[in-house]
């Protein structure tokens, strides 16, 4: 029982004490239909009142967000392939460059809306000492802003580099999958806005089936490198609650190819530390009661 409790592979919410948990939900982000409009970034910020992230021209194609951070919970990556023609623009004569441009018609521009993965094994949650990070009844992973004390332990624990401390505030912030909306039966703001259904929200098991079918369709159409990222329950994070259909290697989009949660070995450690933990908890009761006054 303890193994399943700690792994929580089949049902993370139930394992986290949600007896009547609804089915696990998640995001399926299909990059093959993303048009890079960034509606997801804006809709997220409007709903969650996330501050702006600074006005810097980054020069990485149309991406001026740069990555996920405390102030950007959705991030659209833009990848131009090939970035430059196969001729050195500095030394080559202009005619050769022009000829090269003509000869490379298979240029493509990939776009992907990145987000917190809401891992099955969530490193951030595992290391959070305050209980600010918790597993919701929807199996998502949420930071509670009223609990977080800004210790920052969660930040190195995330294998994707998602969770981040907000400057001037100190607390950790990331995508909540719009926890407040889910409770009212709504979809997260990003998925609601997405014009082309690149971001799909729903029951994770169904999304995985849908995504498998989409990969098959694309492969039939000759998109041979189409594959899913984060959909495999046997991967280093136990599968993601937010997974992706990619058209190239994960690194191309700035994603780690084989993310492993640093706390994967925790179950064994927990067994050894079980009694100690209970003792500490008892001590905490005392200190809570004392601190209440």
């Amino acid at each position: 029982m303890t193994d399943d409790l700690l792994d929580g592979l089949s049902d993370p919410a139930r394992a986290a004490g949600w007896a009547d948990a609804p089915p696990r939900v998640g995001f399926f982000t299909d990059t093959s239909v993303c048009i890079g409009c960034k509606a997801c970034e804006v809709a997220c910020k409007e709903w969650n009142a996330v501050p702006d992230d600074g006005f810097d021209l980054l020069g990485t194609s149309y991406d001026n967000t740069g990555g996920l951070s405390a102030n950007s919970w959705r991030h659209v990556a833009f990848v131009e392939q090939p970035a430059l023609p196969p001729v050195d623009p500095v030394s080559a004569p202009v005619d050769a460059l022009a000829a090269a441009a003509e000869a490379t018609p298979d240029f493509r521009w990939l776009m992907m809306s990145d987000v917190c993965k809401h891992c099955t094994h969530a490193g951030c949650l595992d290391v959070c000492p305050t209980g600010a990070l918790f597993r919701t009844e929807f199996s998502t992973v949420v930071v509670q802003e009223d609990i977080c004390n800004g210790c920052g332990y969660c930040i190195p624990a995330c294998p994707y580099g998602v969770i981040d401390q907000r400057a001037g505030d100190g607390r950790a912030w990331k995508c909540t999958m719009c926890y407040d909306r889910l409770g009212d039966g709504l979809s997260p703001a990003c998925a609601t806005a997405c014009p082309t259904e690149s971001i799909q929200f729903g029951e994770l098991s169904r999304l995985r089936e849908k995504a498998e079918r989409r990969v098959a369709t694309l492969r039939e159409q000759g998109v041979s490198r189409a594959h899913l990222y984060g959909a495999d329950p046997d991967d280093g994070v136990g599968g993601d609650g937010a997974f992706f259909l990619l058209l190239d290697d994960p690194e191309v989009y700035g994603l780690p190819p084989d993310p492993v949660v640093g706390t994967r070995d925790l179950p064994a450690m927990w067994k050894r530390a079980g009694l100690a933990a209970l003792a500490m908890a008892a001590a905490a009761v005392v200190s809570f009661a004392g601190g209440r006054r």
């Binding site: 409790l5 007896a19 509606a39 970034e41 809709a43 009844e137 009223d146 409770g183 009212d184």
Partner: protein, 189 residues
């Protein structure tokens, strides 16, 4: 809050007595988290609206609480947009609630180096005076052959593509009745 409720509110109590012995889920949920609800569901009213940016005409629902716009999102009923919005449409709440919006009439006197505030009614009177005077000064009754002209070229107007049909109708109606011809909008551009 009774003592029992108070104690039940402790995460550790819940952790030890509930189904979440590791305190990573139900037991860890704060009171604030438990009370969270979408502000769309607590709104006082919802207005059916249309996005003000491009001409696709996406449906919007405007949620109002305590006479403030608290959320604008796509109207899923719209057969045009099916509830979706682009980044600009998604920024509509910022557009209407921005504290950068001008909310006072400003006036720059000729040759002045800065704005001054002006009462709205006074500004309206001043503008009406200037229109009437410009019209008087530039009125043309007829051309050289005696054909009626019945017009003024003394003032002009540009704008209308972001305005309502009813507004454009009144602009054209009033200006035409004044004999003003030079009315244009973005459709010429």
């Amino acid at each position: 809050m009774g003592v029992r409720t108070w104690i039940e509110g402790w995460p550790v109590y819940r952790q030890l007595t509930g189904d979440d012995p590791l305190g990573r889920g139900a037991a860890a949920e704060s009171q604030r988290s438990r009370a969270l609800t979408a502000r769309t569901s607590t709104a006082d009213s919802v207005a059916r609206s249309v996005c003000p940016y491009c001409a696709v005409g996406c449906g919007q629902r405007v949620y109002v609480k305590d006479r403030q716009v608290v959320q604008i999102e796509g109207d899923p009923d719209s057969p045009i947009s099916r509830g979706r919005l682009c980044p600009k449409g998604s920024a509509s709440k910022s557009l209407v609630t921005s504290d950068r919006r001008q909310q006072r009439v400003l006036h720059r006197r000729p040759y002045a180096t800065d704005w001054e505030e002006l009462d709205l009614e006074t500004a309206m009177d001043m503008i009406a005076d200037r229109m009437v005077a410009a019209r008087e000064a530039t009125w043309e009754d007829a051309d050289d052959d005696g054909n009626p002209l019945n017009r003024t070229l003394g003032f002009a107007s540009l704008g209308g593509a972001t305005l309502d049909n009813e507004e454009n109708y009144l602009i054209k109606k009033l200006f035409t009745a004044m004999g003003a011809l030079q009315i244009e909008n973005q459709a010429r551009i």
